[in-house]
């Protein structure tokens, strides 16, 4: 931690301590029990703030459990649009007796606690503003059904919090109606709970004591809220995916499940038949095997998984690479190794994707940072897979995949699909013959035919064993080497076709950040902190794909030190970068690593950079 406390920070913190008002800049944490049905309530609360035009983000910190273990949902509202996780909690809703004491103890002074009255949390601290609510008692006013009462208690806290934060009740009602769309009974019941909550708060509490307030802004107009997995599913659908085969695994399951929902709505033809197939496989091996079989036969195919699934898919991935078969593989990464923390986030599959499978293999990996990019890169992945005839990975993570993010509406992709170098029967009539693995165009990408092509020269034999340009079995050293070198050339060609990085060169900056994926949100907020609080300009390189592009070396050349920010223990992306850069540039690489399973936050990045820079000067 830096011991200097800059002016700006002091001012803001004083405002918090002195009772505000703090407008549109706070975080709420709702501590509940997993399986208690709090998700709908939290979504309603988040949406209400969003509908008031205030930038907002929501993160669900949940256990690997169906019901009974603690879960925390944090909502961050921020007028400046910062949507990364913020460490400090301003407003706690303590509904879980198991964690309530610890939740309260963790708060900074002068924060606000809404809690179930019977938990008597005010005994633990004297420096917080406590708002006891008899949730259980209030819920009995609505229904005698005890199960339903538990659910409704959640909506009651939405009412209480809305009243205290001065959220427009009309917006809360709109959000609620949207949440329970088409279920009139649920809408009515929850509306009652909401009203009971706000009425209770109005009658019992002095809301001016709460420094945090929502005031209408205009920063979310026309924006959508969506999770990364749904965004990726939409990207797949608009990319014309026809075969999706998958095996359930957290945090990727919702990708194919959402895809199935959308496809049933938008991809059923007039005669009632599906122009797609979605199959839940028996395991990840089968899931990727089916995707590769379908890709070989010409379908736009995909699978979706997480780290353990990637481990299981290794052999097939190598086959896809070596036999040159297109498919798209989503890895929604979670905390490893092994089962790890299945419901927590990490960026730790980088090396296992970049070099997946035995032998000399290397792959194209697209790395979305936002829900917009989940959509766009899902779409692009199908073009790249078919263009390069190889498995293409899209590496998202739990934070992006399963949490709700604010975004601009997705743009309709107007381009024609790139179906790659596929020869038709007519092409073969003209050409007479073709050699499956010959580098005709000098880009390393060969031509292929699809089974079912009605021409005597169309057939070839695909194999994961050694083969020559005619796809015949070969163990000849020259055939083997030529093929491996062509595959390498193909990878080199890919550098010009993968999404390029986004680079901000700060004027006069000697140091730079290099980040990717969800770390982006913490980095851009950190850049602002460094500028405002420390008058320090830092450049930023946001990597969006492997293989790297030519811009990488240039960025290192232009800075003295480049801090690679990533969410894993070993600095995997840093390692990958070091392998590519010449030694004199690789020496400039520094590493900032966050790997607790909790999403990285801006303050962590800022502090780590300052500490490293300070250390470096000594």
């Amino acid at each position: 931690m830096p011991n200097q406390s800059p002016q700006v920070l002091v001012a803001e913190e004083e405002q918090r301590l002195n009772g505000g008002p703090v407008i549109n800049d706070f975080s709420i944490q709702v501590a509940t029990v997993n399986g208690s049905g709090s998700q709908s309530s939290n979504t309603v609360l988040m949406r209400s703030i969003f509908q008031m035009g205030i930038p907002v983000s929501g993160k669900n910190l949940f256990p690997s459990n169906i019901a009974g273990l603690p879960t925390w949902f944090t909502i961050r509202a921020n007028r400046d649009g910062w949507i990364a996780r913020r460490k400090e909690i301003d407003f706690l809703v303590a509904m879980n007796p198991e964690t309530a004491r610890e939740d309260v103890m963790n708060l900074d002074p002068n924060r606000v606690v809404v809690y179930e009255e019977t938990l008597k949390l005010d005994q633990y601290r004297r420096d917080l503003a406590f708002f006891p609510v008899p949730f259980a008692k209030l819920a009995t006013e609505i229904t005698p059904d005890s199960r339903l009462r538990k659910l409704l208690a959640n909506m009651i806290y939405v009412g209480v919090v809305s009243e205290l934060l001065e959220i427009d009740p009309a917006e809360t009602e709109t959000a609620l109606t949207k949440q329970f769309k088409g279920k009139a009974k649920a809408v009515a019941l929850n509306k009652t709970a909401l009203d009971i909550g706000s009425k209770f708060a109005k009658q019992t509490f002095d809301r001016t004591v709460v420094p945090y307030k929502c005031q209408r802004m205009n920063a979310t107009k026309g924006k959508i809220i969506i999770d990364g997995n749904s965004a990726a599913a939409l990207g797949c659908m608009f990319a014309g995916v026809t075969v999706a085969t998958w095996y359930p695994i957290t945090p990727s399951s919702s990708l194919c499940e959402t895809l199935a929902d959308y496809m049933k709505e938008y991809r059923i033809e007039k005669d009632g038949k599906a122009n797609f197939a979605i199959v839940q496989a028996e395991d990840e091996l089968a899931a990727v095997g089916m995707a590769i079989g379908a890709g070989w036969a010409g379908a736009r195919s995909m699978t979706s998984t997480a780290g353990p699934g990637i481990s299981l898919m290794q052999e097939f991935i190598g086959l896809g690479y070596y036999a040159e078969i297109p498919t798209v593989i989503f890895d929604i990464t979670r905390v490893g190794p092994s089962t790890g923390l299945p419901t927590r986030t990490q960026q730790s599959d980088i090396l296992s994707l970049a070099y997946a499978s035995h032998g000399d293999t290397k792959h194209i990996v697209l790395v979305p940072a936002s829900v917009e990019e989940c959509f766009q890169m899902a779409y692009d992945a199908f073009d790249l897979a078919e263009r390069f005839q190889t498995p293409v990975f899209v590496m998202s993570d739990l934070d992006l995949g399963m949490n709700n993010w604010m975004a601009d509406p997705f743009k309709y992709p107007k381009e024609k699909f790139d179906r790659g170098k596929v020869l038709s029967a007519d092409d073969l009539k003209r050409l007479g013959s073709f050699r499956r693995y010959a580098d005709v165009d000098g880009d390393g990408i060969p031509y292929r035919t699809l089974p079912g092509t009605n021409h005597p020269a169309a057939s070839y034999f695909t194999r994961g064993s050694g083969h020559n340009e005619n796809a015949a079995y070969s163990e000849r050293p020259d055939d083997y080497k030529r093929n491996m070198e062509r595959l390498n050339k193909k990878y080199e060609t890919a550098r010009q076709h993968v999404p390029p990085p986004e680079i901000q060169y700060a004027t006069g900056a000697k140091i730079g950040f290099l980040g990717f994926g969800t770390s982006h949100w913490a980095i851009i907020e950190s850049l602002d902190q460094l500028q405002r609080e420390y008058d320090t300009s830092v450049s930023y390189y946001r990597l969006r794909a492997v293989p790297f592009t030519k811009h990488l070396a240039e960025f290192f050349e232009r800075h003295d030190r480049v801090y690679v920010v990533e969410q894993n223990r070993d600095g995997q992306m840093g390692m990958l970068i070091k392998l590519e850069l010449p030694a004199e540039l690789a020496r400039k690489l520094r590493s900032i690593r966050h790997y607790s399973g909790i999403p990285i936050d801006a303050r962590f990045v800022t502090d780590a950079l300052l500490a490293a820079e300070k250390g470096g000067q000594n």
């Binding site: 033809e269 122009n275 089968a286 089916m290 590769i292 079989g293 379908a294 089974p451 009605n454 994961g464």
Partner: protein
């Protein structure tokens, strides 16, 4: 009966099938297996069956895993696309291929190791799904390419070439297939080309997974005294369920049911299998009887061949998925990409 057939008889130019193709059009590359390998005999009958049935070679996908058996798709139908995948995972490839292009005819060749050991999980789920394909198990009870280790179909008490006795019970792939809902289960012997070709054609007429377990002796590692998968053992212990003939849908059926000795099963594509009963009076459409007969034969160390079970009423996987009639692989962009208004509608929902 020739046991060492490697090449089908050369077809005279005028010998053509209903598509005008010769037997040579159904051949593949030269086999690299051991001389006398049962697998080559099966390859020959695949060539013959596909030729006689008049299958369009370009519509066929030849699929396999890893092992001696899995090499064989290179030795037949060179005008068909082939895919030699990874060990034990041919069912997944086959499923993906058929999802992508339902107009294809998939023939998968596997072995006992590829199916009953490393590939057991995928085999089981292929059957459960009833993916339309012919699934041949070239069953010799040993791993050939790695020099003679027992496989999971080796019989209890069978002796390896090294003299080691197998002390684990065999997995019976046919019993298992029936239990798992497979609707076409047949077993044959590489030394019985006539039965094999009739069953292969029957499998071509079936819609759904057709499991065809063929005892195919390994002349190098499992053809000795004491082996239960040798040519001699198979011949001595074979129990024919019935004599089989096949009448394809494109040939006229001459009806001679009157003797009560034959029964007909009509296949999905309109072809007929004609079964001439033996003294067993076996009914292959009766699942209970099929399982019972298999169990009895196992107890008596008999090696049962013929059409063990058939049911033409069950829908295949692609039908269950309610997929459009054309192959998904080649649907044009305008059919698989929703419209701009659709995206606008979805975005509005999320606002």
């Amino acid at each position: 009966m020739s046991l060492t057939t490697q090449q089908p008889p050369a077809a005279a130019p005028k010998n053509v099938n209903r598509l005008g193709l010769t037997m040579a059009d159904y051949k593949g590359a030269e086999s690299t297996l051991c001389a006398g390998c049962g697998h080559d005999a099966i390859t020959s009958q695949i060539i013959k069956a596909f030729y006689e049935y008049g299958v369009e070679p370009h519509r066929v996908a030849k699929l396999s895993g890893i092992g001696c058996s899995s090499k064989t798709p290179a030795y037949f139908l060179s005008k068909s696309h082939g895919f030699n995948g990874v060990h034990g995972r041919m069912p997944a490839i086959a499923t993906g291929v058929m999802l992508a292009n339902k107009s294809l005819i998939s023939i998968g060749v596997s072995g006992d190791g590829d199916t009953a050991s490393i590939g057991m999980g995928q085999f089981v789920h292929l059957l459960r799904r009833n993916v339309p394909m012919i699934y041949i198990i070239e069953n010799n009870g040993v791993y050939g390419l790695t020099k003679g280790q027992f496989s999971a179909t080796a019989d209890l008490g069978s002796k390896a070439k090294s003299g080691v006795m197998n002390d684990l019970p065999a997995i019976d792939v046919c019993t298992m297939a029936i239990e798992l809902g497979c609707n076409f289960v047949a077993r044959s012997f590489a030394g019985d080309p006539k039965q094999m070709v009739a069953l292969l054609k029957a499998a071509l007429g079936h819609r759904g997974t057709a499991v065809f377990d063929v005892i195919s002796p390994c002349v190098t590692f499992n053809n000795h005294e004491g082996s239960t998968k040798s040519y001699k053992y198979a011949k001595d212990h074979e129990e024919l369920l019935h004599e089989i003939s096949f009448v394809p849908f494109f040939e006229q059926i001459t009806v001679d049911y009157s003797d009560g000795e034959t029964s007909d099963v009509e296949l999905h594509d309109g072809s007929h299998i004609r079964l001439r009963k033996t003294d067993k009076g076996y009914d292959p459409t009766n699942k209970g009887e099929a399982l019972d007969t298999l169990r009895k034969c196992q107890e008596l160390n008999e090696f049962l061949t013929g059409l063990i079970y058939i049911n033409e009423m069950k829908p295949d996987f692609l039908t269950l998925l309610n997929m459009t009639d054309e192959p998904l692989a080649t649907l044009p962009q305008e059919r698989v990409q929703p419209k701009e208004d659709d995206l606008r509608e979805i975005m509005a929902e999320l606002m």
